[in-house]
Symmetry: C2
Subunit: 235 residues, 2 copies
């Protein structure tokens, strides 16, 4: 599974362990999004507390993975594909930690809104659908990282446009809703920020997928179009 | 100015050049925020086009600095303080690029709002004040990076709470404003997202300051309180 062939089995094992821990962090972060959105929809505030407690774990994993990357660089002096893999990990965990932050924000806002607000129920459905897409993007980007899967990466980049469209749709609906009934303005603004948080999660998943393409192809595709990315990976 | 003493003058020069280019990127990004907010307040759409054009330069600088960091790691096999400096650059340029993205978003939203909306003038004043603080934080975090200034870093972390308070104040005012006159809802939502973008810029400046503390002290302070940071840097 390593991009570069090298003789040190110990080094291989270290890289493999690093990769496994990134996936573990990613799994936890994915769970955080689900719990936070579930807290919003069901009004189960115990879930909010779980998300807050887990956020410390996410932060700790970021710090510890960053340390591991620096240690491996200092000790192993990696080059080429190995170095790209480690730099990908350094970038990926920053995005994962920020997804974790967004999940924690959603949990905090869920508390403020409360499920008692029946008027907001139709909005919750939209939020759940949008977060379903963002979560799928995250899972797919982590799979792409694990399996060096370029076509999954390109799919995530494309899906991000979908999340952005959903976001704009929710904003438009909320504006109509607020105009029709100004009493809903406060709660609508909270929903708006939750939608924004999910849109950001989509962006972070897209970033991770772009790092994976860099890791595998050695080509930085962060600021190029989806079409160029698809041309790049078909080479 | 180097944290570690080493014999290679060439290596020193490379690190110095790297540092200078980060500061140059930071200067450009700071300018982008100013132009974007100026575009909003004055309704000068030519400024929006400048921001959009410069955003490509910001992106290009990120990609090229990332490449340089990988090249230096592969060739020079840095350790200790030098490696921390390079990892700090890798993280810092990601935050700078994202500040650039937020500036570009502000410029795009400025176009949508248009200065013709006189009702929004008082909000522009608040946005300008808030962006003044965020820009100062960015400048201070870059100065801290250049001069390895820990107390400036701690100041930035503290100032971020100030930006967050300003943000919450603007949100409250916008909600009141929308309730009093629902015709302002659409434009208020745009202003809300602009305020959110500036709040994010403050977060990124705070991140950079925390990396500087890591670079100098070797201690990761990303997820600790301001008080702990102040204790840490006084050691």
């Amino acid at each position: 599974m390593s991009i570069n062939e090298h003789t040190s089995k110990q080094f291989d094992a270290e890289l493999e362990a690093l990769r496994a821990r990134v996936l573990q962090m990613g799994g936890l972060v994915e769970e955080q999004i689900k719990l936070a959105v579930e807290a919003l929809v069901t009004g189960d505030f115990d879930l909010c507390s779980s998300v807050e407690a887990n956020d410390h774990r996410v932060n700790g994993m970021e710090v510890s993975l960053d340390e591991d990357c620096s240690t491996i660089i200092a000790r192993r002096q990696p080059a080429a594909g190995d170095l790209r893999m480690i730099m990908t990990v350094v970038k990926t965990i920053t995005d994962l930690e920020r997804i974790g932050d967004e999940a924690a924000k959603i949990a905090r806002m869920a508390k403020l809104i409360g499920a008692s607000d029946r008027l907001m129920q139709p909005r919750f459905t939209e939020i759940r659908r949008m977060s379903g897409i963002a979560t799928e993007m995250l899972r797919k980007s982590l799979d792409a990282f694990a399996r060096l899967d370029l076509s999954a990466s390109a799919e995530v980049v494309r899906q991000d446009q979908h999340v952005d469209d959903e976001f704009r749709g929710i904003v438009r609906q909320l504006i109509t809703f607020m105009m029709e009934d100004p009493r809903t303005i406060s709660a609508s603004i909270e929903i708006l920020f939750i939608a924004k948080a999910i849109e950001r999660i989509g962006d972070h998943a897209k970033n991770i997928s772009e790092y994976v393409i860099y890791m595998v192809k050695g080509k930085d595709v962060r600021h190029v179009s989806v079409e160029e990315i698809e041309r790049e990976i078909s080479n």
